[in-house]
């Protein structure tokens, strides 16, 4: 399911056209990536109208900053980076708050001091997962800090590679690992606490 952008987007000629704010090149990029940006904005927790608004702003900023785009990252990564900055401006939840997270304490209780499970994951009830997962996952996503949520969505839904997400969110690989670790475990713990367990 890995996404491949149109090959033209990676060529030096296309880069030059973008830097000159060539209308046709811009339109191609807007058309290709607008649905992805919109989807990621929604996935990161914005309401529909907010997501529309932020998506529009992302592309306006994209067009404005094109003369500075050096093509060192892919166009898509650059766009997700702008999205991240817009979300940070708009939402306090996007401030970096990586120092402490109470999911870490929850996870501490899962393992003994030799690193073995002392409180292992419970077996999921497959039928329940299928029927009710949507509602529960939606509610559990609400409990994930927005920045972590965006990282999770970029990885799992948009399929971005580690390097791309690090670029877009301006974090190190180690930091991203911690963010994804917390997001995934928070979601899994939340679902488990809602009874996704053995009958």
């Amino acid at each position: 399911m890995a996404y491949t952008p149109p090959p033209e987007f990676g060529t030096p000629e296309f880069l030059v056209r973008l830097q000159r704010q060539d209308r046709d090149a811009i339109q191609k990029v807007v058309h290709e990536f607008l649905p992805q940006i919109l989807r990621a904005a929604r996935g990161a927790g914005l309401q529909e109208h907010e997501a529309d608004d932020v998506t529009q702003q992302v592309f306006l900023t994209f067009i404005e900053t094109l003369p500075r785009f050096e093509g060192r990252s892919q166009v898509r990564t650059w766009l997700f980076g702008i999205l991240y900055h817009k979300l940070r401006e708009a939402r306090r939840g996007f401030q970096k708050q990586d120092k402490h997270d109470d999911i870490d304490e929850t996870l501490e209780t899962r393992f003994d001091d030799r690193g073995m499970w002392q409180n292992p994951p419970r077996k999921a009830d497959n039928d329940l997962w299928d029927q009710q997962i949507r509602k529960h996952l939606e509610e559990c996503l609400e409990t994930v800090p927005e920045r972590h949520r965006l990282a999770f969505v970029l990885r799992e839904v948009e399929g971005l590679e580690t390097k791309e997400i690090c670029n877009a969110l301006d974090v190190s690989g180690t930091n991203l690992g911690v963010i994804l670790y917390r997001a995934r475990n928070r979601l899994r713990e939340c679902l488990e606490s809602r009874g996704f367990e053995e009958r």
């Binding site: 339109q27 393992f111 690193g115 073995m116 911690v178 995934r184 899994r188």
Partner: protein, 86 residues
């Protein structure tokens, strides 16, 4: 499962799986990882659940947005692009 020297502990498996650092493991470490999963029902379940979590998130959030909505935003963006330059 017993801790065996040279093997991954459950905690390490859990960390590699949820941080995404599994992708960076070398071949030998991947084999040790796979061996752990074969022997440890808890970690195997944990890894399965994380994978299911990703699948469900993709199914729930990964659909194509409404094309008309996209077109509307695209029109606004391109209009301001034209206004901006002339």
């Amino acid at each position: 499962m017993m801790k065996v020297p040279g093997m991954f502990s459950c905690r390490e498996v859990h960390e590699h799986a949820s941080m995404g650092t599994y992708d960076e493991l070398g071949m030998m470490a991947r084999i040790r990882f796979a061996m752990h999963l074969m022997m440890c029902v808890h970690c195997a379940r944990y890894v399965r659940q994380l994978k299911a979590l990703g699948d469900y998130a993709r199914r729930m959030l990964g659909g194509q947005p409404d094309p008309e909505r996209c077109e509307r935003i695209e029109t606004v963006v391109m209009a301001s692009c034209d206004g901006h330059k002339h």
